[in-house]
Amino acid sequence: MTMLEDSPAQSTGSTAQDSSTETKPRPKARRPFRWVLRGVVLAIIGWATGVALAIAIRGGSPTDEIVVIVAYVFALIGWLAGVGGIEAFGRQWIGKKPQVNTDPSWGRYFGFSIDHKVIGIQYGVTLIAVLLIGGLAAMIMRIELASPGVGVVDLDDFNKIVSMHGILMVAVAVAGVLGAFGNYVVPIQVGAQDMAFPRINALAFWLLPPVAVGLLGAPLLGSFNAGWTAYAPLSVVNESGQILFNMAIITFGLVSILGAINIIVTVITMRAKGLTWGRLPIFTWAAFSTSLLAFTVTQFFAGALVLVTMDRVVGTSFFAPEVGTSLLYQHIFWFYSHPAVYIMVIPGFGVILELTTTFARKPLFAYKAVVAAFLGIVGLSVVVWAHHMFTSGMADFLHGPFMILTEAISIPTGIIFLSMIGTLWQGALWFRTPLVMAFGWLFNFLIGGITGIFLADIATDIHLHDTYFVVAHFHYTIVGGAIFALLAASFYWFPKITGRMYNEKLGTLFAIWVTVAFNLTFIPLFWAGMNGMNRRIGDYPDAYAGANRFASFAALILGASFLLFVWNMLYSAIRGPKAGPNPWNARTLEWLISSPPPTHNFVKEPVVVGAPYDYGVEGSVHAYFKDPDPAAPPEPTTEDVSAEVQDEALAESQEEVS
């Protein structure tokens, strides 16, 4: 069924691995939660120490902002030490050998594991949970907005819920594909046995739970109501929950930066023999390009929030209306947050192109142009930030250049579109859930991109700024572009990660359901925005009632679709039929090893000899595994299995469950 069986790529090692997982009893977890527990205990001790220390020096109460900051830092250190930092780093600082968690049971997901596959799953599961929590906030908002007037939540609470929803979702979009699949897939695609800095990789993940706790705990201090953008001067004068927001997001910045550096170094220094830059799988290119952005500009968000924090607790006056200027905040913030939208979406491009070529059974169209487009976006995206500030009162002469530069980004983005369409063109399309999701993605992102032009155009933006048109635009780009890619990736790599196949019928049903419901929810909001409905307000004039009622109804249907997704993932991970090493008959390295991969990914050394996506090209091989025995040089074999054959094979394996 797969190319593995008749190619030298089929190493005895991987089959052995496959069968051994069936016979070997699963190892039992022994006290799996003790590391997390120790982390929590040390975090609480750290918090108490911080509070005591700060109060001893400065006086005040535990809810004073300076005390909260000190306590947060101490708690963070306690947490990191507790979950495994003591063994993984601390020991080294006193000259001993570091230790890490190598629990073979499911308990490893709750410890300081340095296996990039474990870390990828940790990211994935954590962020999907955050996505669902953010989704609940969205449901509450849509219920409030279902009719004019103040209903289930009052206007002040509404602002807090919007802000919470916004920042949680932004975090998922920024870290979702890169954290989960960047970690899981990139090292395998480059033929490495792990990341370049496995311990720092683990550290970055374990910084994530404090981010979630900080954000979700902010309501204890009055929550934050300045939006995910945390614009000053509101963020300087609102309730103390803003401080937790600031600390959590600065921590989150660290997660991004450490993760990005790890990916860059891994791709540069650890590629397998023969894996030249021109043979790098497109998803790896995407993760690499994104990381170039993430490891640099992220500091600007942190910087902006540090300034806000200083204004709040040190008494500086960067954003105080009399002395400073809130435009400063917007410049620094958007210098990160515009590139951030590409940090969200470039990995999505990678996922979608990766699976388009696999399911179209054709080489990726214009591979080199796509790589150039990725890098072009990286370059351009740092010089367009002020298109978010056309109505903010910045100097007039800046408007024109920022408009033109912004519109120039459509060129590389267009190339990626053309590549996808060119790959689909006359392909032997094999309709599986990932491809169906990819079609949904194509449609959504097209609308997102086209509506962006109206926002980049100064004349139209002056009317559309801060209306629901913007809301609809960025949901089409972020949900349509990044979250849809995250979902598509979840289906695409599900068999690799779990070793089992998800339920295809339910998967396709979900893909169609989520695409339709998403469009029904957000299309009416374009209309509302064009007619002047303001964003971030829990109430609106009666004129918009119809569109909003419709959108709210559709949003509930959209929310419900995720139950289906979660069910399919959970059930299939436990009960799904065995998937085998390469159910998609794909060619990148991760599909040439068993599912799930062995601990160190490769039992034999991978050697890359050709392009990754030469589907249907006679005699083409991407990679083979070198035999330890040098006497047997491998021979390239033909790989041209038609889509229909695989379809049948898959249908068979599907039947076994039902």
Binding site: T298, T316, S317, K604, E605
Partner: protein
């Protein structure tokens, strides 16, 4: 196997046939990783420098303590030289030179921090954080001081390990990393000092 934390698998046992990626990439990876981290930090500093110019242009008050600033600047520059000597010493396996140079670096760093703390207290009287220049001043000095302190902690760990006999010509990455970071802290000051005191 149990859930006990196990030693990090750095050396590979040759008892089984499995392929193990050779670890020759690691030194390169370490250096590259550190450089990327430093570039990332450069962005943070440039955000803050940009904020200074954006809010107050090149204004500065007349009552800055120029002499003290010049003195701590010289101290910090000397510490970079001694840090460099420490690194070269250990690469040539000169332990004594290594310990002494590193000790000087630490001392200089602490003198710098002392000077800066003194300056901050003075500054709070002349141009408190509420004033436009004061905002930039406290922000930049504070950010830099934070980096000096982390740098000093790193150097201190290296120093203690060095005294206990760690490091040698073949095992000097710890020293190299801490020293590179210290150079960066120095370099940042080379931009901050003129921005606050000279322009």
């Amino acid at each position: 196997m149990t859930t006990e934390a196990a030693p990090l698998d750095t050396s590979h046992d040759a008892t089984h046939e499995e392929w193990h990626q050779d670890t020759s990439f690691q030194p390169r990876a370490n250096v590259l990783g550190l450089w990327l981290f430093i570039i990332s930090e450069v962005f943070l500093f440039s955000a803050f420098l940009a904020a200074r110019f954006y809010t107050t242009g090149t204004d500065r008050p007349d009552d800055l303590n120029q002499n003290l600033a010049l003195a701590v600047t010289i101290v910090l520059l000397i510490s970079s030289v001694s840090a460099y000597l420490a690194e070269t010493s250990i690469k040539f396996n000169n332990r004594r030179g290594f310990i002494i140079s590193l000790g000087i670096t630490l001392l200089m760093g602490m003198i710098f921090m002392g000077g800066v703390t003194f300056e901050l207290r003075e500054a709070a009287l002349h141009f408190p954080p509420e004033t436009p220049y004061g905002s930039s001043y406290f922000m930049l000095i504070g950010l830099h001081a934070f980096h000096v302190v982390t740098g000093l902690i790193a150097l201190l760990i290296v120093f203690v390990l060095g005294v206990r006999g760690f490091f040698g010509s073949t095992n000097s990455w710890g020293v190299e990393g801490a020293v590179k970071y210290w150079h960066f802290v120095d370099l940042a000051w080379v931009f901050i000092y003129p921005t606050l005191y000279l322009l």
